[in-house]
């Protein structure tokens, strides 16, 4: 599907155009929130050592590569991967809250971060047929910056509640965008 085709020519044109512009930004916002939120939680209730940071970055990148190359071919809707990422984030948050500094959970967190990383990989792979690469990366990155700054400020002002609730709310917006602008929740060919 090309970018021009994605913008429908019905009376829903303006809404579709809006969704079209906002959708990658919302996804970036979601990713910014969960990446920053998870980093804070791991730092404060698992370990703030460099190893934790490296585990997070490497696992996220590996997950994204898996998403781009492998998971995108699975017969799972894009929003399904969003749900998986959100669930992985939720499980990590609960585990970190209930069993802080549990070193043996390191492998569990690594796997959960890989699961989270799969979503952006699938998102980029599938949206490449809808959006121009430049616009897709630009919008997603802007959303990520807002998520990074927003999650940090939220954590300082509201505490953990802010970084627990905000990804759920943004994921809800992403899902609605996907459902409303039906073309986004595409399945693999």
């Amino acid at each position: 599907m090309t970018e021009s085709k994605a913008v429908l020519s019905s009376n829903k044109m303006s809404n579709s155009q809006l969704l079209h512009r906002v959708y990658p930004l919302l996804v970036g916002l979601f990713l910014g929130f969960i990446q920053t939120g998870l980093f804070f939680q791991l730092s404060f209730t698992f370990s703030s050592s460099f190893r934790t940071y490296v585990m997070m970055v490497i696992c996220w990148l590996v997950g994204s590569v898996l998403g781009l190359r492998v998971a995108t071919k699975w017969a799972v809707p894009t929003n399904g991967f969003l749900l998986i990422a959100l669930l992985a984030y939720g499980i990590s948050s609960v585990a970190l809250h209930l069993r802080p500094f549990e070193t043996t959970f390191g492998i569990l967190y690594a796997l959960l971060i890989i699961l989270m990383g799969i979503y952006p990989g699938v998102f980029f792979a599938r949206m490449s047929s809808i959006y121009q690469a430049r616009r897709l990366f630009f919008q997603e990155n802007n959303g990520f910056i807002i998520g990074l700054v927003g999650a940090t400020l939220l954590f300082m002002l509201v505490g953990r509640l802010g970084i627990w609730v905000s990804p759920v709310l943004v994921a809800g917006l992403v899902t609605l965008s996907g459902m409303y602008g039906n073309q986004y929740d595409i399945h693999p060919a």
Partner: protein, 508 residues
């Protein structure tokens, strides 16, 4: 949306014969892979350097990180109007600018401070960062996808693999210093220049020039570093940089004045060196150790490790837990005059996150003292939180004592020290706060069964030439704390305040 009909890179080069075709089909992959790798490497250098130049606080870290990622967006925008031919001079410029980046950023800030315009740096550096640091590398991905040099899936995967390699380089070689990281970074940029088909003579020239620059870099690095500290930190002329490095967590600097005094700076902020800092180690380490004679003591945070030496005189065994191995190394190497680590036999250093260490040890301590930076960032603020103090309390012996710096003078109008004291009051039955003029900060002794009283503390302070001190007992501490809330993981707005006040003070 219309797109310009642009010939794909691989097609363009396929007319030059099989070998050329093979080489150039490979070129986009080189561009993308090394872009991913170098983005990680330059982030490592830049975030630490800029954070130190702007006196690292949480807001500065956030500002620098946001500026870096904004640069990636700038690159995506630039990928539309930019032509492939423009990338060659841009890559040459990037090589020159990036390899000299720490030097000219320091000189710029030093110059601004020299004309009384240091606050301009808070605007100028974050504005420059997106354009001169990260934008260049993010041009390639959308540009090459547009030029049909590969699909988004293929090229983006490769960029991510490059990023993984960048992280791996930092893990394996980051500790070897800026020169080592820059050798690999420069090699990555030269590979990009080669992939952009820069003339071989130019490539050879750039390689030699970069090599020569990397040879003189350590000298210029320490020279500009010293210049910055002399100007911004008012060190006397003739001071020299003994060590400057980027650790996994921060920029670590050790400077020596012409009089032989050593200073330790973490992210540009003084951690040890002043007279008040030494006095703080006396009142927070030596005095409680002398009063307790503890068999087992723990110090959270290494710093100069002078506190450990002062405690070790009166204790059976002292353990230091420090997150940053580089801080531990420089402390053992450059501060032996203060910490006697070369002769101490009842001390050990553990590299670990203190929160993680306490959660996973069964050891009990008679004395725990903290030597950590103020709550400039969220990371350090957690070391003043109620949950951290609870974790320490769980590892104290029944009459064990925790000693904490309050990072400012304890007073009814000082929110930071009141909130730290409030955190202590939640966990401990007894909290004694002392303001000792020579130490600068107020500090607190906290215990569930304090083994010494006000009289003993007064005697110990007087024996160490401390005059004009103020001692608050638990009731007085509760009164001064008033309605101040304890610091918790869900109440970190203190960081925002400390951070904002720090930046504001630079404008005054």
């Amino acid at each position: 949306m219309t797109t310009r009909p642009i010939q794909s890179i691989s097609t363009e080069f396929s007319i030059k014969g099989y070998l050329a075709s093979r080489r150039m089909a490979f070129a986009p992959l080189i561009l993308i892979f090394f872009s991913g790798m170098n983005l990680i490497l330059i982030q490592w250098v830049l975030v630490r350097e800029l954070t130190a130049l702007l006196f690292g606080t949480e807001l500065v870290i956030l500002l620098v990180s946001a500026a870096y990622f904004l640069g990636i967006s700038v690159g995506y925008v630039l990928s539309k109007p930019i032509h492939l031919n423009h990338l060659k001079p841009l890559a040459v410029l990037t090589l020159i600018v990036h390899l000299t980046l720490p030097i000219w950023f320091r000189l710029m800030v030093t110059g601004l401070d020299g004309v009384g315009a240091y606050p301009v740096a808070f605007v100028l550096l974050p504005l420059l960062t997106p354009f001169v640091v990260s934008a260049f590398y993010s041009i390639f991905l959308p540009l090459l996808i547009d030029h049909q040099s590969g699909s988004l899936t293929e090229l983006y995967s490769l960029e991510l693999v490059g990023s993984v390699c960048g992280v791996a380089i930092l893990v394996m070689l980051g500790g070897l210093g800026l020169q080592t990281v820059y050798i690999l970074y420069g090699a990555g940029l030269l590979a990009i220049l080669a992939a952009l088909k820069i003339k071989r003579t130019w490539l050879a020239f750039m390689t030699v020039a970069a090599g020569l620059w990397l040879v003189v870099l350590p000298t210029l690095n320490t020279w500009s570093n010293t210049l910055w500290y002399v100007q911004l930190r008012n060190l006397p002329a003739g001071s020299k940089t003994l060590f400057s490095g980027y650790s996994a967590y921060q920029k670590v600097d050790v400077l020596e004045t012409p009089y032989g005094k050593h200073y330790l700076y973490l992210d540009g902020l003084e951690h040890f060196g002043s007279y008040s800092g030494e006095r703080l180690n006396v009142v927070m380490g030596q005095i409680p150790a002398a009063l307790l004679q503890p068999p087992n003591a723990l110090v959270v945070g290494a710093g100069s490790m002078q506190m450990e030496a002062l405690i070790a005189e009166h204790t059976g065994y002292v353990t230091t837990v420090e997150l940053d191995p580089m801080v531990g190394e420089v402390s053992q190497r450059y501060f032996t005059r203060y910490n006697h680590m070369d002769t101490l036999t009842n001390h050990r250093l553990i590299i670990d996150d203190a929160k993680h260490f306490l959660a996973n040890t069964h050891a009990r301590y008679d004395l725990v003292a903290t030597d950590v930076p103020a709550a400039f960032s969220i990371q350090t603020a957690t070391l003043y939180s109620e949950s951290f103090y609870q974790s320490i309390a769980d590892h104290l012996t029944p009459q064990g004592v925790l000693v904490v710096g309050l990072t400012s003078t304890f007073a009814p109008d000082d929110l930071v020290s009141r909130r730290i004291a409030a955190s202590l009051l939640v966990v401990f039955d007894e909290v004694m706060v002392i303001t000792a003029p020579s130490a600068g900060w107020s500090f607190a002794y906290a215990s569930n069964d304090m083994p010494f009283g006000r009289a003993e503390v007064e005697t110990a302070l007087q024996a160490r030439y401390e005059t004009g001190y103020v001692i608050y007992d638990t009731l007085a501490v509760e009164t001064v704390v008033g309605d101040a809330k304890p610091i918790t993981l869900d109440s970190m707005n203190i960081v925002l305040r400390v951070s904002f006040d720090r930046i504001k003070s630079r404008f005054e």
